[in-house]
């Protein structure tokens, strides 16, 4: 018990004094995750929108695959990306393994299906509402996609935040492809795992508080967004 209390006290000390390691690791986490989420949203939202307004033969199958990909175990994603990026793998020449870029690639694979799937659900709903009107107004497919994504922008932001929530707390994939190298690929989750195993509870807890704080902020924002979304309902 004593250990834990002193750990908590030390953790607050690190946060309050803006400890360099702590800041460094937090910023790297944010850099990797924000980049991955930005790419994931840039891919996932158009994909969700396109799926919502298109009718094609394998649409249902595509949606089912997307939902299945959402449940991909991150460790397996990490393993596959590792194999692809390793020196003997097809993309080995780029030397990306154990770099933040490798971590971003792995997180993009994890986040994109999630963002696409949640976006698709919201966009399918608004498309059902708008369908007859947009057909009547002779919209092109591109105009339809633009209209529904704009009018569902709050829900899409929520989808993006859900992607952020998933990525920021993820460890399985980035540990494998990043390697948790100090000053290079060490991020909040991998650092917490390491410091805990070293018995360095102060830093581990300090990092943990920051991670919790970030997750909490994201959920608060999502909650607020979905409430304003509901007030805009019909």
């Amino acid at each position: 018990m004593e250990d834990i209390w002193s750990g908590i006290a030390a953790a607050f000390g690190l946060i309050v004094t803006l400890d360099r390691d702590l800041i460094d690791i937090t910023l790297r986490s944010l850099q990797v995750t924000l980049t991955a989420v930005a790419i994931g949203a840039a891919l996932g939202i158009p994909l969700g929108a396109w799926l919502a307004v298109s009718r094609f033969r394998f649409r249902r199958v595509t949606i089912a695959v997307l939902n299945a990909l959402m449940g991909l175990p991150p460790v397996v994603v990490g393993l596959v990306v590792y194999i692809l990026l390793s020196r003997s793998g097809p993309f080995g020449v780029f030397g990306l393994l154990f770099t933040p870029t490798a971590m971003i690639i792995a997180q993009v694979i994890i986040v994109t299906p999630l963002v696409a799937s949640i976006s698709h659900q919201a966009l399918r709903e608004i498309w059902a509402d708008y369908h007859d009107l947009l057909i009547s107004l002779n919209t092109t497919k591109w105009q339809r996609i633009r209209t529904i994504t704009w009018d569902a922008r709050r829900a899409l932001l929520t989808a993006t935040l859900a992607g952020f929530g998933r990525a920021i707390g993820e460890i399985g994939a980035i540990m494998i492809v990043g390697g948790n190298i100090d000053q290079v690929t060490r991020v909040l989750t991998t650092a917490i795992a390491l410091e805990t195993s070293k018995g360095n509870f102060a830093l581990a807890l300090g990092l943990g508080f920051i991670l919790i704080g970030l997750a909490f902020l994201v959920n608060l924002a999502m909650h607020w967004l979905s409430r304003t979304e509901q007030r805009g309902r019909w």
Partner: protein, 237 residues
């Protein structure tokens, strides 16, 4: 004067779920006074209007304007029974069809504002469409339909769920559009409204056209027993 009328329906048939819900029927929609499609619920009024407008594809037959479909599409608009409004402000709803046609924001805003004035919604321009009353929503949908100055305006029971006052206001707007050169084609099961608006009547029953006549002839004495019963207010099936 219209450049897209007459519209000719030939051998139109719409099947859904293994059942023929409209037709087979032929109909010419001429460039003359308002055409009202009358008939009980489920007669096929909405389906007929949607086929004319091109948003429901017939299983069989053709619906042809005198100009190619793409050209005709730009000169018509449709007002749905339940207004479909964008999750935007009233003004942005009316600006939308103009923006689709590539009009600049400023010009679109001015035109849309003017249109809102015309339908009596000027004060509600910045209000979210979702919070408007039923009558206001339908007037907004009407403003959005009229803002592109269509030659033909389809109306699917636009006042079916509205009170007397909103109905009167909407009919006034429609009269204005009509005298401005817009051909009206409206479905209704409200006989009073049909009498006030119609120049021609199409009487539908079970997906079939039972009568097409001038309104005067129709209301003075329809030739079929079904239409007579309908006019008397009997339940026709």
């Amino acid at each position: 004067m219209s450049t897209i009328l007459p519209l000719r329906l030939a051998g139109i048939e719409v099947r859904r779920a293994g059942r023929t819900i409209l037709g087979p029927l032929d109909l010419d929609v001429e460039d003359s006074g308002p055409l009202v499609v009358l008939g009980p619920n489920g007669a096929g009024k909405s389906t007929l209007l949607r086929v004319c407008h091109g948003i429901t594809h017939p299983t069989k037959g053709k619906a042809d304007w005198v100009v190619p479909r793409a050209e005709a599409n730009l000169a018509q608009a449709f007002v749905f029974q339940t207004p479909i409004l964008l999750r935007r402000s009233a003004l942005e709803n009316v600006m939308y069809p103009l923006s689709l046609r590539g009009e600049g924001k400023k010009a679109a805003r001015a035109t849309a504002q003017k249109m809102l004035d015309d339908v009596g919604l000027a004060d509600l321009a910045t209000v979210r469409a979702s919070v408007l009353s039923g009558g206001e929503k339908q007037k907004l949908a009407l403003a959005r339909a009229l803002v592109t100055r269509p030659e033909v305006l389809f109306l699917d029971e636009p006042t079916a769920s509205l009170d007397g006052r909103s109905t009167r206001e909407i009919e006034t707007i429609l009269a204005g559009a009509q005298s401005g050169g817009t051909k009206l084609m409206m479905a209704t099961h409200d006989l009073g409204q049909a009498r006030r608006i119609a120049a021609h009547v199409v009487f539908l029953l079970n997906g079939q056209i039972i009568e097409t006549r001038s309104a005067k002839e129709f209301f003075e004495g329809p030739s079929t027993a079904a239409a007579q019963a309908f006019l008397k207010g009997d339940i026709v099936e």
